[in-house]
Amino acid sequence: MLAESLALSAVLFTIGAIGVLTRRNAIIIFMCVELMLNAVNLTFVALSKVYGMAGQVFVVFVMTVAAAEAAVGLAIIIAIFRHRQTVDLENINLLKG
């Protein structure tokens, strides 16, 4: 089942990357990043069956980082929403050259 897991993980990562590039809602882009992290977690778990338990330990760390990233990222989105009344990334172009 190793090959199937790795292929599924690659497909999920691709779908997440496509979502990041095509969506404009900042919250949905955040959720796409979470999907990409989940795909990588599946790779870790599948390979830990072959290479040892360290892979599952890394999954625990990835989940911690994802939780921290979600908290800070959503706080930033709330701060932006207070200023601009939108989470549409097309309208948040203050730094655009």
Binding site: E4, I15, N38
Partner: protein
């Protein structure tokens, strides 16, 4: 272990995960997108259990599907974004073109890597099977390396979480001038 029943369910959950994630990136409303993402995460939790990572499967449900997605839905509710925006919620022609090219490139990599062997020096052994998990317990087998080899990293994550908590409160706080 890989018998017919096992394989059917492995493919079933894999296809459900792909279908849910496709539905997730194509929904316009943030709420239904979030619920499809929860479905994807439940399918992944089932796959973790089938890969004999029982503890990871449980915390996938508790942490990801339970905690993180609730935070997302809470922000959607807080900002009152539940309705799909009137404009189409996708980027223009160039964004779609870039996404399509990236998707094709990544899938081409998957195809190119199909059937390749993993490099031998990469294989230190130490894989586990259901017997090892049964002897040590699903939690104990994860805790053993976590609190021995990776103890420093584990302690450092507590600092990361502290910084994240303080950062989220400071950034999300309403300024005094805004409150008036």
């Amino acid at each position: 272990m890989p018998n017919f029943f096992y394989e059917v369910h492995f493919y079933l959950f894999g296809l459900l995960a792909i279908a849910s994630s496709i539905a997730f990136v194509t929904r316009k409303s943030p709420v239904s997108a979030a619920l499809w993402l929860v479905s994807t995460m439940f399918c992944l939790a089932a796959l973790y259990v089938m890969l004999e990572a029982h503890f990871i499967g449980v915390i996938q449900v508790l942490v990801y599907a339970g905690a993180i997605m609730v935070v997302f839905l809470f922000v959607v509710m807080l900002l009152n974004l539940g309705e799909a925006s009137a404009i189409a919620d996708t980027r223009g022609k160039w964004g779609r073109l870039a996404a399509g090219l990236l998707g094709l490139a990544l899938l081409a990599q998957v195809m190119a890597l199909t059937g390749k062997r993993l490099p031998e020096p990469f294989t230190p052994g130490g894989g586990y099977d259901s017997v090892a998990v049964r002897d040590q317990g699903a939690v104990g087998s994860v805790a053993q390396p976590l609190f021995n080899e990776y103890l420093l990293a584990f302690e450092l994550t507590s600092i990361l979480l502290l910084v994240a908590i303080v950062g989220a409160v400071v950034i999300g706080r309403r300024r005094q001038a805004d409150a008036r």
